[in-house]
């Protein structure tokens, strides 16, 4: 697929995202457009399931760029994020050159530490030139990595270059499109946030969520989609430990259409509640009276 140029205005960005089924708020489209034009990373914070990771996938598909994903976890270090040497292959190469009678130490070093023995991990892959244009680098759930990794990431995002002691410096010909997401289980250091354009992704409004459900689950009936959206919006007002996100709404709508449900009944809601609420405490609260009340609100005709 040929690479498309970067969008030229906020409206063009909005149209680009909508064409791929991602219905964004105008503020998110504005920040995305600025991030693309100014070459600054996009920092998306928000609850789980509101579409932070999804936008990276949509952007890479829409712009025709490769998507490189770095999933962060505690203890993520340079070896897993940037590069690693293939020690086993290197040892075999040493043995082979020994058997072949190679004794020059300099020659041996330069043979062993060559690019063919370098295992490239996501951050280094993102710096490599690509014929389709700079790739989209998604750094997912940065709050799960620790502060040491944040400091290293800050360095990379400032210069877009990595120094490998044995090989030299690798510099990106054009900086990649960087999207960082965080679930806010830990405060990311200010220095990193200031480097990026920040946006808090919130739950969508009822109209937008309805449009999202209709786009993602085309087989759903109009009546059911309205009830589903009203139900989920009412759930978010309740005091749950983890409110359902947009991803959960779409899952639930898909589940209901698979079950051929025409409208919401206590039976079918009770059966499929696991698609919406993921904590046992929340599910037990959502029985009996509470369920009846929310259901009535969702299915009333007005």
């Amino acid at each position: 697929m040929s690479a498309s140029a970067l969008p030229k205005s906020v409206d063009a960005t909005l149209a680009l995202l909508t064409s791929r089924g991602y219905l964004a708020e105008r503020s998110l489209a504005t920040v995305t457009y600025l991030s693309l034009r100014m070459g600054r990373p996009l920092f998306l914070e928000g609850e789980a399931g509101v579409g932070k990771t999804e936008i990276a996938k949509v952007l890479s598909a829409a712009l025709g760029r490769k998507l490189i994903r770095l999933q962060c976890y505690e203890g993520l270090d340079v070896a897993s994020a940037v590069y690693e040497w293939n020690s086993a292959a290197q040892m075999i190469a040493i043995r082979l050159s020994e058997a072949a009678g190679e004794t020059d130490r300099e020659q041996l070093s330069s043979d062993i530490f060559a690019e063919r023995y370098l295992i490239k991990r996501p951050l280094l892959q993102a710096l490599e030139p690509d014929v389709a244009g700079p790739p989209v680098l998604l750094i997912d759930e940065l709050d799960r990595a620790d502060e040491a990794f944040e400091a290293y990431l800050l360095e990379i995002l400032s210069d877009f270059q990595v120094t490998i002691p044995e090989l030299g410096t690798v510099k990106a010909p054009a900086p990649p499109i960087v999207i960082i997401t965080s679930n806010r289980t830990r405060e990311i250091h200010d220095a990193l946030k200031r480097r990026c354009l920040y946006h808090w992704v919130d739950y969508p409004s009822a109209e937008r969520e309805l449009a999202i459900v209709k786009t993602r689950v085309p087989e759903i009936s109009a009546k059911l989609s309205q009830q589903v959206v009203r139900f989920v919006q009412a759930l978010r007002d309740q005091d749950f430990y983890k409110s359902p996100g947009v991803a959960e709404t779409i899952d639930w709508a898909t589940a209901l259409t698979e079950l051929d449900a025409r409208s919401l009944t206590p039976q079918v809601v009770g059966d499929t509640l696991g698609a919406l609420l993921k904590y046992q405490d929340d599910i037990t609260r959502m029985q009996g009276d509470t369920l009846q009340k929310v259901l009535k609100e969702a299915t009333s005709d007005n």
Partner: protein
């Protein structure tokens, strides 16, 4: 054309952006000069006429924390409504806690030093006398209840607490570092070392785990009966905050307040003073269940990560008997690595858990310790440096 520091911008838009940034700073959102330049560059890329787009652009650059979004919204409305009136209207924008005026560092020590120079000789004499404090007096001070101390004794104890330090590292992390006695093979360094000997591996380099101190979260009850113990425990928390990066402190009475930032001031008196100014319901009644619920909902996921130890300082006497108390304690217990309850009621030797609130909370606690004197704080330090015990409900009688 991108703007940088060498060609300073002119014109109405530039003035507006600079003025708006100043307004945000006054309202408590830190905005640096780099951000102002970025904002001007960004505004060149969008339609200036669209208010929503300008809002989104400036928000993306000036706001880096979700808490600031509300202040930003109000400041934006005020500023871009009528440029002349905004200076007067800005007073109605609510300030975040950390932007309120810090109390002046008028500690007692400074005041004494400045006002009475003739007292210095007497002060040095006093110090000599203190040095001659007998061993038995020191022992008495260790065991004396905080609530029964005189001002001089409290000062002595405060000094002792300021010297206290927690052990450096208890948590094994998942990171490795070069360690000669480690258990894991460091292939990369081994191979590099082998090149010096022509490919023969002679030295095997090893990796060992990095140990880090566990984050500490302290929840302190500031109701009337607790204030003396809370104050001295705050001194203790202030003392360990210097050496340790991840210490979060919350005060609760009828509401929960995060005072971590206030407590970070170097001077302990100033730290405590700014603590008290940021809490409104000092020494009122307690609603433990409500406060724990607020903590679990809003803060638990942010501060309890990476194996946190929670210190709950409270007498457990709930003002309203609340059935949620057991639920919230259970949730708190499950979210942290270790929950230690420090209760000054344990100063009474024959303490038995009779009160409803205490009975509800006790099953969900890993350790139940006293907090009424210096030796109990030292006991706490020992407990924190010992490895985690796997049995629950260690009730320590008053020492």
């Amino acid at each position: 054309m991108p703007i940088d520091h060498l060609n300073p911008p002119t014109g109405l838009i530039a003035d507006n952006v600079v003025g708006f940034a100043r307004a945000l700073r006054a309202a408590g959102i830190p905005v640096g000069p780099g951000a102002i330049i970025d904002a001007m560059n960004a505004l060149q890329l969008i339609e200036i006429g669209s208010r929503a787009d300008v809002y989104a652009t400036l928000e993306a650059i000036f706001v880096t924390r979700h808490e600031h979004a509300l202040i930003f919204a109000q400041a934006f409305d005020l500023f871009f409504r009528a440029a002349e009136d905004w200076k007067h209207l800005l007073d109605s924008v609510p300030l975040p806690e950390h932007a309120r005026k810090k109390p002046p560092p008028a500690s007692r020590r400074v005041q004494e030093a400045m006002s009475q120079p003739s007292m210095r000789e007497e002060a040095s004499q006093l110090r000599e006398q203190e040095l001659r404090l007998s061993v038995s007096d020191k022992e008495l001070l260790q065991k004396k209840d905080f609530a029964q101390m005189t001002a001089a004794e409290i000062a002595e104890v405060t000094r002792a607490i300021a010297e206290m330090r927690l052990p450096q590292a208890e948590l094994h992390t998942r990171r490795y570092q070069p360690d000669a006695r480690g258990l894991r093979l460091d292939m990369r360094r081994t191979l590099r070392g082998s090149l010096r000997t022509g490919g023969e591996i002679i030295d095997i380099r090893k990796l060992g785990r990095i140990d880090k101190p566990a984050p500490i979260v302290a929840l302190l009850d500031i109701s009337g009966s607790m204030s003396e113990y809370t104050r001295l425990f705050l001194h203790f928390l202030h003392a360990i905050m210097d050496a340790r990066k991840r210490v979060s402190v919350f005060l609760f009475g009828t509401r929960l307040t995060n005072v971590t930032r206030s407590l970070r001031a170097r001077d302990p008196d100033q730290a405590l003073a700014s603590c008290s100014s940021s809490v409104e319901d000092w020494a009122g009644g307690t609603r433990i269940a409500t406060s724990l619920h607020t903590f679990n909902k809003m803060w638990a996921r942010r501060v309890l990560g990476q194996g946190a130890i929670v210190l709950l300082i409270s007498d457990g006497l709930e003002r309203e008997g609340d059935a949620r108390l057991a639920f919230e304690m259970d949730r708190l217990h499950r979210s942290c690595r270790r929950l230690i309850w420090l209760n000054p009621l344990l100063r009474y030797g024959g303490f038995e858990a009779k009160a409803q609130g205490i009975k509800m909370m006790l099953p969900h606690v890993d350790e139940f310790r006293p907090v009424h004197n210096l030796s109990s704080i030292e006991g706490l330090i020992d407990a924190l440096s010992a490895p985690v015990a796997h049995h629950r409900n260690l009730v320590r009688p008053a020492a």
